[in-house]
């Protein structure tokens, strides 16, 4: 549908990935770290779809990889939030700097 250069689409994907990486490094709240990971996974999906649509049209590999990434992201979010809720019950905080019982 669109006819922009592939480089522009990949620019968006790379920028979104590193925005997510920056958020993952700076945020200390576990739920915001999870949100940053979701941003990174979305950037990867854009990357797969752009490569599939513009460099290898007629194949469906990128589409299937994106579908599986979305599925695994959903499973990962569910398990991560269960763990976060369990941590909150035990420590009354979800700040990853305060949870240091196992730290040597």
């Amino acid at each position: 549908m669109i006819s922009v250069p592939v480089t522009h689409i990949l620019f968006v994907s790379f920028a979104l990935f590193f925005i997510g990486a920056y958020g993952f490094f700076t945020r200390r709240n576990m739920i915001t770290m999870l949100m940053a990971v979701e941003l990174m996974l979305n950037a990867v999906n854009i990357n797969f779809i752009a490569f599939n649509r513009y460099l290898y049209p007629g194949q469906l590999e990128g589409l299937f990889f994106s579908i599986f990434i979305i599925t695994i992201a959903a499973a990962e979010a569910a398990v991560a939030i269960a763990i976060i809720i369990n941590i909150y019950r035990r420590f009354k905080t979800i700040d990853s700097d305060d949870i240091d019982s196992l730290k040597f």
């Binding site: 997510g20 990486a21 490094f25 999870l34 469906l60």
Partner: protein, 170 residues
């Protein structure tokens, strides 16, 4: 410049602006809502790249599932009106430098490769192709990962219930 290209640049800038707001705002609920807008714009980008099925999946799974899950967990674990602390200067400098140089490295590699779009052999993806691909084995068949991922979803569901289950105090 056609209208579709103009919409592409609009959608891309919305993705990036809401992405930056997601990781920079100090109020958690706003952060979740900005993430919601960013993900909706990613769905629009999939639509612009002729992947209507994936756009629909993105809206259903991310916007309808994951964002709601994140919002519920925020309600369970946060007091309203509490602002997040700012990250330390050293940490944000380090993260900024790492992200910036990672981006520059990747983008320079991309410019060196400078891929050219292949517009001629494109044909619209139909639901039939996706269905046959997902349940096919052999070349271009994805039935094994499809089955593995269904087991993974079952395991994640059971695991999430088992982890978050409240045990009775003695």
């Amino acid at each position: 410049m056609t209208i579709a290209n103009f919409i592409f640049y609009l959608v891309s800038s919305m993705i990036l602006v809401f992405g930056v707001l997601t990781i920079s705002t100090r109020q958690l609920f706003r952060s979740a809502i900005y993430l919601l807008f960013s993900l909706i714009n990613v769905a629009a980008l999939f639509f612009l790249m002729d992947n209507e099925f994936l756009a629909a999946v993105q809206v259903v799974v991310y916007v309808g599932g994951i964002i709601v899950l994140i919002l519920f967990s925020l309600f369970l674990t946060q007091q309203a009106g509490l602002k997040l602390p700012l990250p330390g200067l050293g940490r944000s400098m380090m993260a900024g430098l790492l992200s910036f140089f990672g981006f520059v490295l990747l983008f320079s590699l991309l410019l060196a490769a400078s891929p050219e779009a292949d517009e001629n052999s494109f044909s619209a993806i139909t639901m039939k192709e996706i269905g046959f691909g997902l349940l096919n084995f052999g070349k271009n068949g994805y039935v094994l990962p499809f089955e593995v991922v269904s087991i993974l979803l079952l395991a994640a569901m059971i695991g999430a219930i088992a982890i978050a289950f409240k045990t009775k105090k003695e």
